[in-house]
């Protein structure tokens, strides 16, 4: 069998494996993508507006203009991810045809379907999806997601939701792996996930795909904290390009994510970074404006 087989589950999750330990940065144009690449980002995420702007400007947020995605792909050599709306399988088809390396079916954009997520199996391009808990993560994996990111609360600079979600997912995995075989049937029912997948997570004590953290990461210490909490890597959205000094902050977050257990390095890279993004406390957000509650 010397034939080449594209789009296999191993090839899809394999790229996420290669991103482990790294930082993926939100960018809205080629110039920002270049800054992210130069800072040491392992990938960039193309979107129309960063979450902080989606919040302040309101309206429906959609997939980026294909021209912008083309320009970003032409500018950087690292993988380019792009966001599609939850359930919007045609935006996903368009992004695949543009040659993006990963699609984020993202709650940061306005959902296109409040019942179904995209059936991700027929696609050659892999998908990353958000999750606030283990059941949600397993449902996305069942639909074909090759990578999971915890949701956090994007565009706030408040890391507390990201902390809650990574702790929840890790805690639920630990609880599941402590259960006996005969308890997994009810666990699967409660998680609303297939029994085989639940058994696999219980046995391996980890998700079958890479788990990143996203949403509200604004400082090098935030990124390092997520890594110490067990994340495989970090997405940074508005935190870089809504700050006073994106170039230095981007580099600092990359260094802190790499040396995440070394407080001295984290201290050094945190010096003189200028203003962090102006934050919003998640508790001050009225419920309809909480992005992490989109998706199910």
């Amino acid at each position: 069998m010397a034939e080449k087989t594209v789009g296999t589950p191993l090839v899809k999750s394999g790229l996420a494996e290669m991103l482990k330990g790294g930082v993926i940065m939100d960018v809205v144009n080629a110039e920002q993508a270049k800054i992210a690449e130069d800072a040491g980002a392992v990938a960039v995420m193309a979107l129309e507006r960063v979450p902080a702007d989606i919040r302040s400007q309101g309206g429906v947020a959609r997939m980026s203009d294909p021209d912008l995605i083309d320009q970003i792909i032409a500018t950087v050599s690292i993988p380019v991810m792009a966001k599609a709306r939850i359930g919007h399988f045609v935006e996903a088809q368009v992004l695949q045809s543009l040659g993006v390396d990963y699609i984020d079916e993202s709650e940061v954009l306005s959902p296109a379907d409040y019942v179904n997520h995209i059936d991700k199996w027929p696609f050659t391009v892999p998908f990353v999806c958000g999750a606030t808990n283990l059941g949600e993560a397993l449902r996305r994996i069942t639909e074909g997601a090759s990578m999971i990111r915890s949701k956090g609360e994007a565009g706030t600079g408040d890391v507390s939701e990201a902390t809650k979600h990574i702790r929840t997912i890790r805690g639920e995995i630990a609880a599941l792996s402590a259960k006996s075989e005969d308890e997994l049937y009810v666990a699967a029912k409660e998680l609303q996930a297939p029994l085989e997948l639940v058994r696999q997570v219980a046995r391996d004590k980890k998700l079958p795909v890479v788990l990143f953290v996203a949403g509200g990461v604004a400082t090098p210490a935030d990124a390092a904290m997520m890594m110490q909490l067990g994340a495989d890597g970090v997405f940074v959205g508005s935190g870089v390009f809504k700050s006073g000094n994106p170039v230095e902050r981007a580099k600092a977050i990359v260094k802190a994510t790499t040396a995440y257990t070394d407080a001295k390095v984290i201290a050094d890279v945190s010096r003189g970074l200028g203003e962090a993004m102006v934050g919003i406390n998640v508790s001050d957000l009225p419920a309809p404006h909480r992005l992490s509650e989109r998706g199910w």
Partner: protein, 184 residues
């Protein structure tokens, strides 16, 4: 990294992660894994692993580079980003992302006569290709003749990931031939 560690555990070889210069002391061989070559290059300079590693490789430390690791071992890179450097060791030119983006990533089986037996399972993920071979032995090719593996003394570089597809024979060959050979 973790997938390489699992293969080494399967083969009964002790291992550790190298992140700082002191981690290099006392090792018998090093695997440079996949990832983004431009990022590994930058981090190796920031955390000051670059120079000691180059000295160690020049001094005969056995090394296996997979995917991005191959790029870092090559003497020249086609499609490098501005300022991108390599450790060197393999006198070849390597083209980054030679097959295109992720939708072109694939699994296949390749011929690797140095290993013998059946063809080797391999995953190519945004993989590089070896375009210009100077003072190196070709050890792996695709069926169309594209070069995906080379060796020069203590340095072995391959375009693909055996560790992602449950293939341990490449590691076993490298340990038995290159690493054990360096100790004789």
């Amino acid at each position: 990294m973790r997938e390489h560690e699992l293969v080494l555990e399967e083969l009964g070889v002790s291992h550790r992660q190298v992140r700082t210069p002191s981690d290099l002391v006392g090792i018998d061989g090093i695997i440079i894994p996949g990832g983004e070559s431009s990022v590994i290059d930058k981090l190796s300079r920031i955390f000051e692993v670059r120079e000691p590693l180059i000295s160690a490789i020049a001094g005969g430390l056995p090394v296996l580079g997979t995917c991005a690791g191959l790029i870092l071992l090559s003497n020249s890179v086609i499609g490098a980003i501005e300022g991108q450097q390599t450790f060197g060791g393999l006198d070849v030119a390597v083209e980054r992302n030679a097959f295109g983006g992720q939708v072109e990533s694939f699994e296949t089986a390749i011929d690797m006569p140095v290993i013998g037996g059946a063809s080797v399972k391999a995953a190519f993920i945004r993989a590089p290709l070896i375009r210009d071979v100077r003072e190196c032995e070709v050890i792996a090719t695709l069926t169309n003749g594209d070069i995906v593996g080379v060796r020069s003394g203590n340095c072995v570089g391959i375009s693909f990931h055996p560790e992602l597809v449950g293939e341990s024979r490449v590691h076993a060959w490298w340990l038995d031939t290159v690493v054990a050979g360096a100790q004789r």
